[in-house]
Assembly symmetry: C3
Homo-oligomer: 324 residues x 3
């Protein structure tokens, strides 16, 4: 996403209309979204929070890349706000027929699908759609290439805030395949906006990011240096096909030893460190299974927060639509 | 569909029970359906029309052929009338196990799926199902081989009527692969019933239709003759695999030049001509992209009308069911 | 499922919490479930029964094996009780990414999916999940390897009871590939609990079951002996790939003649015999088509009962959840 696209996210009254990236969302707005999300949290086993703020509206889940969890999360968030949710796995139908993305969008728009949730492997696709939809349509980025995954960034931010809201004094370490990670990008953008104390990006040199994409972060290749005194450790999923095949990326055992989060290296972090992972996990590769299931893990909390932040975003958009 | 099957569409009281074809639906009934559909149209951005006429009913979307737009359109139409909609891509499950179509239908019927929306590549499948379901079940044809696509015909008719309700003075040109087009068949049936002034079918000779299937239409092979003074031009989708491969069908460039709708040849039509396409479009093959997006295009209006006519048909069937 | 797992099905108050197997459900509970299911039956064409006992709850349909009918049945049962139903074909997404079953379950649990309906080809998977979910989550087995299919067993029991509630005097013959049949297992467990008069299992010797899995049943290989004076005949689906390929399993024609249910051999059963099949049927292999469609067949009734027993089970679980 280009810098200019950050403005695209707001309507002329300054309301959030599209969510394409966390760039351009200031600390006040991020805080409001997290506060809204908190209100949607209920205890396990209780009925999930519901309201009718999107009643009568139709949300289209357009997943050009497969996903269970993010799609299910948006689906439930939408339904719990009273919306009709249309799930489209677009790869299996229109694209087979050679229909362009925009024609799919125009078609849905014409069916009164007023919120488009888009996941795509292509860089710039959500912004491209946002620039081309009618004035009354909102676009939410549900994962864009290696560029952006803003609702993931929000749920990560919420999970970190639940642990410790004093961002200025937090050390956060993100570990793994930073270079290809939209999760790292969005988390990093959100954390910088909130004035995080220190953000460390730990990866094998071959998977280190372009520093310009992560302004203000410290790029580290030794994991012990990366984890030292960290308050928050986020392990990233690595594509199995990259392990041992990409130049400079070791095989599974060495990757796990050097860049996986395990009981040995986590000792260097703070005693009350929280361990995060966006899922789905490769247990035994980027994270040790018993750590993922242990008391310091907040991984399922992230999932719960994921539904809540999506409800918060959708609710805000629903209100904006209702006010027109 | 055989002539006798047109009667099959009505219950003993003369109410529309199945929608298999537009043959056998008289001008009065077509007009009523279009009038009903008009009532479901709202402005873009407004909440879509809703009612509860199918509340408690279950609609089964049985798509034995893939489709995004038609399925989504029926899905939304059903949900906006309060129905439960069950989407079944039957190719991926039962048929794999060798279950016959009728056994699938009997199963759904036994689950109180009282409306079956069927798309199938096989000629005669919707009527075959309609002849075999229980008395309380309705079957809607959502696309049948090259034979019939009645809700598409209704939406095309509505779109044309919105432009000019004086069918008797209209010149309509349908352009492209007429021979394989259920869209052309259903539009043609509806237009003839409404007494259209002149209906022209324009195609390469190799894709010209059997004239008996289009009684009263003029078959034309020169596109300029076909478009001259036309009020309505409908471009048809051509299967890419037919282009340049079928005997007598030219390659893409020549096809576009000779049988595509573009800025050059559209000049021969009336100044206020409307341009239609059933979607998904092959831009640059059967239609020029900028025409599809231009002021004369009513292509997205067709999509909006598609939901509305499907609601009109479902609503009528729901009322009939409620009256039993 | 191990014997101990039968206890796993009940919460500390003795309420049914998971449905993993019909083993461990006593005659009183089976009878209550069938009685509840009866209340959900309405006449064809009438509105299906509905209530709001699962309103606000989310059901996850996790089908790791493809299925149209069982999934649709659970889907409709859940929706008719007011639940949100999330359909996940897990093979197409998470498993592709190498996510473990438990991680999928933990993810759904964290999204407030409090009822998991699981179909899996693996032996023990539903119990494994049940042992690992949080206290407030219920697991329903929707088909487990060749081991168990408890809601199928319940619907079979209901269908038999509708014919004749005097189980003690009934002769029931199950015919076909008993060895691989979870349907036969669950029906057999339910029938034995209800004190069925005689249970006969008829199959080619190569497909005969381990007698320990069917305590109290009579294993028969001559179909005439098997059907003689039977009140109930249940034909099982045979996998086409087993026919003529498995040692000792004859080709289609001979299989049909010797182990199919047809007009010739059904004469040996009682005059008012009912004919059952779990579907989908291989007509002309394990059952003669005209028998399946004839007056003695209760095959579509089984499907109707299937939705009703699933509603009964879900409703009971919903009540238990509401009472917490």
């Amino acid at each position: 996403m280009e810098q200019d696209d950050t403005k695209l996210q707001f309507d002329p009254h300054g309301n959030l209309r599209h969510l394409l990236s966390l760039r351009g969302l200031d600390a006040k707005l991020l805080t409001e979204l997290l506060d809204d999300a908190e209100r949607y949290l209920t205890t396990p086993g209780a009925l999930p929070a519901r309201n009718q703020s999107l009643a009568g509206r139709t949300i289209g889940n357009l997943f050009f890349e497969p996903s269970t969890r993010t799609r299910a999360s948006f689906d439930l968030a939408g339904r719990r706000l009273g919306a009709d949710v249309l799930n489209l796995d677009v790869n299996t139908s229109s694209r087979k027929k050679g229909e362009s993305i925009l024609d799919t969008i125009y078609t849905l728009e014409a069916m009164h699908v007023d919120v488009m949730v888009v996941r795509d492997a292509g860089d710039g696709v959500p912004a491209y759609i946002a620039r081309n939809v009618k004035d009354h349509v909102s676009v939410l980025n549900a994962g864009e290439s290696d560029v952006s995954h803003p609702t993931q960034g929000l749920l990560d931010l919420l999970t970190i805030r639940q642990h410790n809201p004093d961002f200025k004094n937090l050390v956060v370490a993100i570990v793994g395949d930073i270079q290809h990670s939209r999760v790292a990008r969005s988390a990093s953008e959100a954390l910088q906006t909130m004035g995080v104390g220190e953000l460390r990006l730990v990866s094998p040199p071959a998977l280190a990011p372009d520093p310009e994409r992560f302004p203000g972060a410290r790029i580290v290749d030794n994991i012990v240096d990366g984890l030292r005194d960290a308050d928050v450790v986020m392990a990233l999923r690595i594509q199995r096909e990259r392990i041992g095949n990409l130049d400079g990326v070791p095989g599974i055992d060495e990757y796990f030893a050097k860049y996986g989060i395990h009981h040995e290296n986590i000792k260097h972090a703070k005693a009350d460190v929280i361990i995060m992972h966006p899922g789905p996990m490769n247990r035994g590769i980027e994270i040790e299974g018993t750590l993922a299931d242990g008391p310091r893990s907040v991984i399922t909390k992230q999932v719960t927060n994921g539904v809540a932040v999506r409800m918060a975003v959708l609710n805000r958009i629903g209100k904006m639509m209702g006010a027109r």
